[in-house]
Amino acid sequence: MTPLTPVPAISLRGATKRFATRSGAPFTAITDVTLDVAPGEFVTIVGPTGCGKSTTLSLVSGLEPASAGTVEVHGRPVTAIPDGIGYMFQTDAVLPWKSVLDNVALGLRYHKVAKQEAHARARDWIQRVGLAGFEDRYPHQLSGGMRKRVAMAQSLIGEPSILLLDEPFGALDVQTREHMQDELLDLWSGTGAAVVFITHDLTEAISLADRVVVMTAGPGTVKETVPIDLPRPRKVEEIRLTPEFTEIYRNVWNSLREEVEITRARGASRVA
């Protein structure tokens, strides 16, 4: 790496992950993934079902070690969970037995921030995600969209320099999802955090990203990286009506379609 290029926030070099299966034969989830994400860059990853998108995130977050290749965060190899990582999971990860306030303050409490200060900062974040007045509710008393806001505040309160999102809005209805996408962009803009966002939804991928990474059918690897030169700040409902957007959509979809068809054909042969 030459000194002129800044150290990427995330750097994957030939990252491969194999899991042991019950039969004993190793299952390769991703193979030879090479990808750099610069600080402040928003990257979305799309790919057919089962291509190892989530596995890629778990390598970056240090939840799983890579089987081969290197994974670096801020230039340091990932051996444990690196500092400054935020992660929003696909399924609900808020604690059902803690109130909204305690859920949002959780990360600060783990970092030994005094209770009073943690609660004050949590209240601030609860307001920023639009949940003021719901501090004392338990998660089961909230709607799916509100629980996502709690999860978002929980991840962002630590002011992560790297934010990993694994289909965070997949389970939401379309209107709520678009609203959450806008809020995510608002909260992210100006933070300088590097974002890796996984999704099945191509519209979502393009309207949020600086770059869209297309992965191949499993075992996944990077097939193509498409830069998205749409101006920011963006409004996701509006941007997807522009002709530029449609053009990009067609390109990315052509690339993705082949992989989806491969995956489908495999599924069909397995059924047959």
Binding site: L63, A93, L95, Y110, H140, Q141, G158
Partner: protein, 298 residues
């Protein structure tokens, strides 16, 4: 037993906000209905009790031999006698107290040990694999027989009964705590790790609260076991307690005395059950309210 527990726990955890509101209104509806006809339910219950006791009394006075089967009026007389004049083993309250103390001690120690070991093994694959055959083996022992051994080891005093109650309680709680610690949602653990939780933080804020539904469910059964342990221990050999009273009644061919002792222990168990339910409601305030609490009452 563990299957029932699984059902209760999973329905309570899976409840999403949408069907919670639906369930709540259904619950209110049910409650409202049973509320308006509560007197009918109670009246029918009363009729059942009267018919049952009446037919027992009547047949004991005509067909069956009350020397073997006793009858409600004699049991009542024996209870009144015990509470007013005391028993052959001293005041009835002192005997209840001894048995209760043994049961509570065995319950407390057994629950604590069961939760600690269950949660530790539930989170450590290696330890669980090493110890699994020993635990299964110990669980297969007819543990009630150990009461005899404990009397030899610890004598006729309280210790041997506490030990018997302990071995019964421990396994009931252990298996549930173990399962509860195993079934913790992986995403919750991963999320906490990302947020910076230490091992102890994980235990305290994720694993123990997750396993609480399981542990509390087992505590209902476990207190019953603790009482059984204490009473059986006393029947095997003791100088005080309800079990001794029952075994003395047996020695005297006094069926009414056995029934009376049984009734007192039952009353104690019901009070304890009520207290545990209170504790459960307190510890699980975060859960959506639902009709399972009505089912749990059975």
């Amino acid at each position: 037993m563990s299957l029932d527990v699984a059902n209760v726990a999973s329905t309570q955890v899976d409840a999403t906000s949408e069907n919670v509101t639906a369930r709540r209104s259904a619950y209110r509806f049910l409650r409202g209905r049973s509320g308006s006809s509560a007197w009918l339910v109670n009246a029918v219950r009363l009729v059942l009790v009267v018919v049952w006791l009446g037919s027992w009394e009547l047949s004991a006075r005509t067909v069956i031999d009350p020397f073997y089967y006793s009858m409600p009026s004699r049991i009542w007389e024996r209870l009144v006698d015990w509470f007013t004049n005391g028993t052959s083993q001293g005041s009835i309250w002192a005997n209840i107290e001894v048995t209760l103390e043994e049961a509570v001690l065995g319950f407390a120690i057994g629950t604590l040990a069961g939760v600690v070991l269950g949660v530790v093994l539930g989170r450590s694959r290696f330890l669980a694999e090493v110890l699994a055959p020993f635990i299964k083996g110990t669980n297969a022992i007819p543990r009630i027989v150990l009461a005899s051994l404990f009397v030899i080891w610890f004598g006729l005093g309280m210790t041997s009964k506490v030990a018997t109650a302990f071995v019964l309680v421990f396994f009931a709680v252990f298996f549930n705590a173990f399962q509860g610690a195993r079934e913790v949602d992986r995403v919750l653990v991963d999320n906490a790790r990302i947020l910076g939780a230490s091992r102890w933080d994980l235990m305290r804020t994720i694993i123990l609260p997750s396993a609480t539904s399981w542990i509390l469910a087992s505590m209902h059964v476990a207190f019953g076991f603790a009482l059984i342990g204490a009473v059986v221990g006393e029947v095997v050999g003791a100088d005080r307690g309800m079990g001794l009273l029952i075994s003395r009644s047996q020695g005297n061919f006094d069926a009414a005395g056995i029934y009376a002792g049984m009734l007192i222990i039952t009353a104690v168990a019901l009070v304890a059950e009520w207290l545990i339910t209170k504790l459960e409601t307190r510890l699980t305030r975060w859960r959506p309210q639902q009709s399972s609490s009505a089912a749990a009452g059975i």
